[in-house]
């Protein structure tokens, strides 16, 4: 059985409609008009134990709403939801012992007290035994370099330091699932890298299941083995990153830089791969071959071009994951 089961999950919000200006404000006191917004509609997926899933979509796509339903903060309008054998919102207090949550936008630690005191308090809140607590804290301390910041109140920490502390706080009770909502937002390159390594490591070592929302697609690429793309509250894609690449890899390009200009015509005829390669010559010293990854062997393209033309440099281009996601967002669907 899957660790997380989501079936036809929907969440509607009713938003008070107000006409602009003072007149509108006064009118709204008397006559209230509500508008229903479908933040999440008919979302279904399953996640198995130990998976590391990226949950992405443009702003306002319904990611956070979904995460909030999964973590028991919001009650779904309709649909079925089960995580770690709990219905999150119904058995909130038992359920939350089994999960860890990190919001990049907002700390979960107590603002005014030193980090270590926050951790000690959490130990009591989650009833972690002294032994487990000490062992985990020691390990995390080393992994995330926390030694100098443990005695500092949270409000005095930099964003990167705070984020590391939040990560530790979410893992102290050894949760089965870790929800990360934009954990790297606003961090510098080093900070991002450190967090990425930490997540990879604890996923490997503790087998904790992770769901990660982010706008940093590099992060998704390096961390996740599965990607769920949502927009307008619906799932656009659910599958591996490799699969997405294959779908969009139509244009894998090989660009040949020539040492002397190519013959004006006819040279392509010998290089006919049954029409599955598209040839372009942007300038006399450049030839560009575009083709689908699965139908043409790139090595064959290269070797046949080398036979006919004098090549002095080759670049292979694959569409960046950013471009692919950008295309999906703007088209509102995934290519079939």
């Amino acid at each position: 059985m899957a660790l997380i089961e989501v079936e036809k999950l929907s969440k509607d919000f009713s938003i008070l409609k107000r006409d602009p200006g003072l007149k509108g404000a006064i009118w709204s006191l008397v006559r209230r008009r509500y508008e229903t917004v479908h933040a999440v509609s008919d979302v279904s997926f399953e996640i198995q134990r130990g998976e590391l899933v990226g949950y992405i979509g443009p702003n306002g796509a319904g990611k956070s709403t979904t995460i909030k339903m999964l973590t028991g903060i919001l009650i779904p309008t309709s649909g079925h939801l089960r995580v770690c054998d709990f219905v999150p919102y119904r058995e909130r207090r038992h359920y939350t012992r089994n999960i860890g949550v990190v919001f990049g936008q907002r700390t979960q630690l107590w603002w005014d007290i030193p980090v270590i005191e926050s951790f000690n308090l959490l130990q009591k809140v989650y009833k972690v035994s002294d032994n487990d607590y000490r062992r985990r804290l020691d390990e995390f301390k080393e992994l995330l370099n926390l030694d100098e910041i443990l005695d500092v109140p949270v409000r005095k920490l930099s964003l990167g330091q705070r984020m590391r502390c939040d990560l530790v706080a979410s893992m102290l009770h050894n949760p089965q699932v870790l929800f990360l909502d934009e954990p790297s937002i606003g961090l510098d390159v080093v900070g991002k890298l450190r967090i990425r390594e930490f997540l990879q490591r604890i996923n490997r070592e503790t087998g904790v299941t992770m769901i990660l929302t982010t706008h940093d697609l590099r992060e998704i690429e390096e961390l996740c083995n599965r990607l769920i793309i949502v927009d307008h509250g619906r799932i656009l894609y659910d599958g591996g990153i490799g699969g997405l690449r294959t779908k969009y890899a139509f244009d894998r390009h090989i660009i040949f830089q020539l040492s002397e200009s190519h013959p004006s015509d006819g040279w392509q005829n010998d290089l006919d791969f049954n029409g599955s390669v598209r040839w372009e010559t942007p300038d006399p010293l450049k030839v560009k071959a575009s083709f689908r990854k699965e139908s043409v062997n790139p090595a064959a393209v290269i070797s046949s071009v080398m036979k006919h033309l004098s090549v002095h440099d080759i670049t292979i281009e694959e569409p960046e994951i950013e471009q692919i996601i950008g295309m999906i967002y703007s088209q509102g669907k995934v290519k079939q």
Binding site: L74, T96, L121, K124
Partner: protein, 268 residues
Amino acid sequence: MFESIKLHVTLGALYLSKFLKTRLEYKADLMLGLVTGLLFQCITLVFIDVLFARQSLTIGGWNRGHVLFIYGFSIFPLNLFFAFFPNLYNVGSKYIIEGNFDRILLRPLNSLFQILMEEVDIESLIGLIIGGAIMYYASAELELVWSLWHMPVFCLMAISGMLIYGGVFTTVASFSFWWPDRIGLMAPLFNMMAFGKYPITIFNRFLQFILMWLIPFAFVAFFPATLFMGVESFYTHALAVPVVACVSMLVGMSAWTLGVRHYESTGS
């Protein structure tokens, strides 16, 4: 159930000690708070003294000693309430509109408990000294004799009074889950609290009904005070005070639970 209560009590003590520690870090701030608190209390004392400058003054059959005693007692539940429930005022703004309530819901603890524990106004407790002084003075005037059994009853009554306020304000704070931007109900209720400081019999019937059955502020100070003043006609009411406290908290907590179910979080 028992396990859960035990956990909450232990954590309550822990939260409180952590909170005190942070307050002690800002010693100057704390001292200033205590001094202004004391000054504020002295001002109300002067006000009361002006009111009762004439020895012979009576209101509705209650003499100066009675009124002072009730007033003195009322300071206990009121300031305990101000000390331990100040965060109820922030439920709409800080927790619901700003979305901090998300964080509360992610912890395996009662949500109301967490909010109450996140802010404690220790300075309010300084007022208890003034309350005690007024009561000491008033009991001398009424020639009351205090005995040992009064102490536990006194504590029970003061805490019950705090819980009556707590329950009523929790109910109102729960409305923020539906209308987070309206704290309009809080202000009139704060004013209503003043009625609790006087003998209920001086008000008209309508107000008496409200103060006993709807917003039971009469049980906060007046009825308990009659018990210590030996006004036997109100003993049954005085004994009902802990019951009223329980009912008030139950109503508050039920409204809270309903409200939490209605919580819609914020955009991001």
